[in-house]
């Protein structure tokens, strides 16, 4: 199958299915699943066939040939694989979960377009193609976010689209400048050209190219869209938004840092410990992202918002790892990228399942769902174990590699931030666990059942993946090594179940077996002891008080209040507030402008006409 079709099959099918959907209710979701499954199958057959020739669509515009190039590299294969895989799982999930959702058809239409455009972005062989599909991606995701059921979805999507548009303008400006000089958009030519330019000029161009990617990845100064968008998007879209949309931004960063070897261009510039200052600043931004995301996640009362902030903080890890430009850093970044996609999708899916049943996202309005929804709980538990980076799950391996990379170079502050995020993640992932799944069951949730099987299926698959990659990271390392070879990065040593770091070796099989041993021992001791009697959740120590209201007996609201108190002033001065103040000042300035220039007085306008004619005359355009 031609590469070109990967991007267009989902888009075309989406439109066909959109009209079909009027007749048959579930056709869109099912058709989407089928299409994604087909694409998934096709792309998995393409593994290891990196010699597929480039495909070019050329057309003429203003007497100049413009080419759209599509190419397949291991890196793009990874992203396509992840995209179609996640798309497939979510499409399966939506078959059941969206039965009562009003904007169902437009959701699936936009979702398929989004998948197609992401495939286009990662398959693109030049910046023009990248930009075209990038914009399609932005807009389709904008529609998806704004179709959320809450009122705030509109505001969130506006924030998203404004930031994206700023990024797109910067990128297109940089591309025009470059195209004006070399008349091509190809990655390699642009890279060669950028290395030939004076250092300041090329740095400015690179920053302009990088900002849209950084915005999409939700890194520090531009992270403000992430929480709103994630928490207000439709519950089925949040997994994809966090699992993949943010990663596409990372793809762009990889593209600039490694594919267009930014490192080589910047090597001559100011260095800090052998690292170009731009990279170091990027890493610092990543580090700030980790800390900000963590602290803000701990504060949240809305579960989707909490996980959204956790996404921000995890993206900080990836950026940090990629920015330090060592083989280990690159490996760690890519590993964490894959793993984060897996466990964050799981978390969001399990939360979507909870929302599907309880119809609320406020953590304090739920509780004790573990006995009602055990599968969802298990999925969430395993995913958060991975997120907090606890062995034997995949999350720990990637974090371990990142720490190795950071300590190896002695970036002490970055590693402190990374550890802060890691321990903080412990706090914020425990909050939903404790308040949604554990604790007292709400009386109105007495009749809740586990979600249908079609919704459990994706969770099972993802849980299996978490454990599989936790035990056999070699599967991922194999692909990462191929990417490293493509990008001329020294590969990291690995076997099927071990990875060699800077200060030692990781062996997941041994750890897993010891884990099994430890748990087995504990289990045997537990079983051999006397059997215990089961009592209800209300039958607990109450200091002698008589309690009969489970609602009042559930500790959920402001779970980490003592900790939050430490950061109250910090949160009040958050970047969102700064941006909002900035926006208000712009509005004020505009009002000032309106009052002084746009007076609403016809005479003034007459004066402007005269002035305009005079200016035209001065410029020599009319006389």
């Amino acid at each position: 199958m031609s590469l070109f079709y990967y991007t267009f099959i989902p888009i075309v099918i989406a439109f066909i299915a959109y009209f079909l959907n009027k007749k048959i209710k579930l056709s869109l979701a099912i058709l989407n699943s089928v299409v994604f499954a087909y694409l998934f199958y096709q792309i998995s057959r393409l593994y290891n066939q990196w010699n597929i020739p480039h495909e070019t669509i050329s057309y003429y515009m203003f007497d100049r040939e413009i080419q759209l190039i599509f190419q397949l590299t291991p890196l793009s294969w990874l992203f396509i694989f992840m995209t179609t895989g996640a798309g497939l799982l979510i499409a399966i999930f939506t078959i059941k979960s969206q039965q009562e959702y009003v904007l169902r058809s437009s959701f699936h239409l936009n979702f398929a377009i989004l998948i197609g455009s992401i495939l286009g972005v990662v398959l693109a062989g030049d910046f023009l193609t990248l930009f075209i599909f990038w914009e399609i991606m932005t807009w389709s995701s904008f529609f998806l976010i704004s179709s959320g059921e809450k009122k705030a979805a509109q505001k969130a999507s506006y924030r998203y689209i404004i930031l994206s548009t700023i990024g797109a303008y910067l990128m297109v400006t940089a591309l025009f400048i470059i195209y004006n000089q070399i008349h091509t958009f190809g990655y390699n030519q642009v890279a060669a050209h950028l290395s030939g330019l004076p250092i300041t000029e090329s740095i400015i161009l690179i920053i302009m190219l990088a900002i849209p990617f950084i915005i999409k990845a939700g890194v520090f100064p531009f992270h403000v869209w992430v929480n709103g968008a994630h928490s207000n998007a439709p519950k089925e879209f949040s997994p994809f938004l966090s699992g993949l949309m943010l990663k596409v931004g990372i793809y762009g960063v990889i593209l600039l840092l490694y594919f267009v070897p930014l490192y080589n261009i910047l090597k001559e510039s100011v260095n800090y410990r052998g690292l170009p200052i731009f990279n170091y600043i990027l890493a610092i931004f990543g580090c700030i992202t980790v800390i900000t995301g963590t602290i803000l996640a701990i504060r949240q009362e809305d579960v989707k918002r909490l996980v959204a902030f956790s996404s921000i903080s995890q993206m900080g890890y990836i950026i940090m790892a990629l920015a330090i430009s060592t083989p280990l850093g690159f490996t760690g970044g890519l590993l964490h990228l894959m793993n984060h996609m897996i466990f964050k999708t799981t978390i969001f899916l399990s939360i979507a399942a909870v929302i599907y049943r309880t119809k609320t996202t406020k953590m304090s309005e739920m509780g004790g769902l573990i006995f009602k929804m055990p599968v969802t709980f298990t999925a969430y538990l395993i995913a958060i174990i991975a997120l907090a980076g606890i062995p034997p799950t995949n999350g720990f391996i990637s974090k371990w590699v990142i720490y190795q990379a950071l300590i190896d170079k002695g970036y002490i502050f970055l590693s402190v931030a990374a550890f802060f995020g890691s321990i903080g993640s412990f706090m914020y992932v425990f909050k939903p666990l404790s308040t949604i799944f554990l604790g007292q069951l709400k009386p109105e949730h007495e009749n809740i059942k586990e979600v249908p099987f079609l919704m459990q299926l994706p969770m099972f698959v993802l849980m299996a993946l978490i454990l599989l990659f936790g035990i056999l990271p070699g599967l991922q390392m194999n692909l990462i090594n191929q990417i490293s070879q493509l990008l001329n990065i020294q590969p990291v040593g690995f076997t099927l179940y071990s990875i060699t770091g800077a200060f030692g070796k990781w062996n997941s099989l041994v750890i897993f077996s010891l884990f099994v041993g430890g748990f087995l021992l504990a289990f045997i001791i537990f079983i051999s002891a006397k059997k215990s009697k089961q009592v209800g959740l209300m039958d607990t120590y109450t200091s002698g008080e008589y309690m009969d209201d489970p609602e009042a007996y559930h500790y959920a609201y402001q779970y980490f209040r003592p900790f939050d108190r430490v950061f109250d002033s910090f949160a009040a001065r958050s970047l969102t507030v700064i941006y909002d103040t900035f926006a208000q000042n712009i509005v004020k300035l505009g009002n000032l402008f309106r009052k002084s220039i746009v007076t609403g007085n016809g005479q003034t306008y007459a004066f402007y006409m005269v002035l305009f004619i005079v200016i035209l005359a001065f410029a020599g355009w009319i006389i």
Binding site: F607, V610, L611, I613, V614, A617, F618, I623
Partner: protein, 253 residues
């Protein structure tokens, strides 16, 4: 004199400089530019064709009281243009006038019959008696200007204005004086309809709207110029009535 006004003044002075500068440009050969004052290119101007009264055939000399059967037989060349060569334009213009008058009536409709502040409290003796003498003279003069529009300076617009002035004076002089709007209407409608029907007859007889289908006669005779004097009379009536109407409306407002 505040800042606003100074700014406006400066801008307008600049605009004036730019406009005047356009008159200073000396055209190169073949270029079109504004004339120097009084330096028209007489040989090549379009007007010469109208002056020769022969747009379509070869130029002949037009001689007073001798030349016959010219395209347009009016001695006043401006009239030829207004009522013959550009008669359709004039029809449009009369329409604009008509629309303006109608619009004015529509705007001021409510107050049409109320008492106006504009009319003097007491009739002025001099005005009242002066008008008595002046009114028929003004009507006569206006009629003359209209009827001789194709022979002498003046024309229907000027004559109409004179007639309207007569009515203005009449209205100013006396509180009791009321115009009979029905008569005005009838005159106006008749004039307008005759204008158009003359044009339509041209369409019927010669195949083109407002064609000069009558014989044009000898230059500078009273009965010359074909339909030109007829059209001029209708226009004159219409303008007179229209302007009178406007004046009446404004006075009553």
């Amino acid at each position: 004199m505040n800042f606003r006004k100074i700014l406006a003044l400066i801008t307008i002075i600049l605009l004036g400089i730019f406009i005047l500068q356009a008159f200073l440009i000396i055209p190169e050969k073949g270029e079109i530019a504004l004339n120097n004052f009084g330096k028209a290119d007489i040989e090549n101007r379009t007007a010469q064709l109208y002056i020769d009264k022969s747009v379509n055939s070869t130029n002949e000399q037009v001689i007073y009281k001798e030349s016959k059967d010219k395209e347009s037989g009016s001695a006043n060349i401006v009239t030829s243009i207004v009522a013959n060569y550009r008669a359709l334009d004039t029809l449009g213009e009369v329409t604009v006038l008509f629309l303006a008058a109608t619009g004015l009536s529509a705007i001021l409709y409510n107050k049409k019959h109320a008492k106006s502040n504009f009319i003097l409290k007491e009739d002025s003796f001099i005005l009242k008696n002066g008008i008595k003498i002046l009114f028929p003279l003004l009507i006569l003069a206006g009629s003359y200007i209209i009827i001789y529009g194709h022979l002498s300076p003046g024309g229907s617009f000027q004559g109409g204005a004179v007639i309207a002035t007569a009515f203005l004076l009449k209205l100013l002089s006396s509180k009791e004086y009321e115009l009979d709007e029905n008569i005005l209407k009838i005159i106006e409608v008749t004039a307008g309809v005759s204008f158009v029907s003359i044009g339509l007859y041209g369409l019927y007889a010669e195949g083109s709207f407002l064609t000069n289908f009558l014989e044009t006669g000898t230059i500078a005779n009273l009965f010359s110029g074909g339909i030109v004097p007829i059209i001029y009379i209708t226009i004159g009536l219409k303008v007179a009535v229209e302007l009178t109407n406007i004046i009446n409306d404004l006075m009553k407002a």
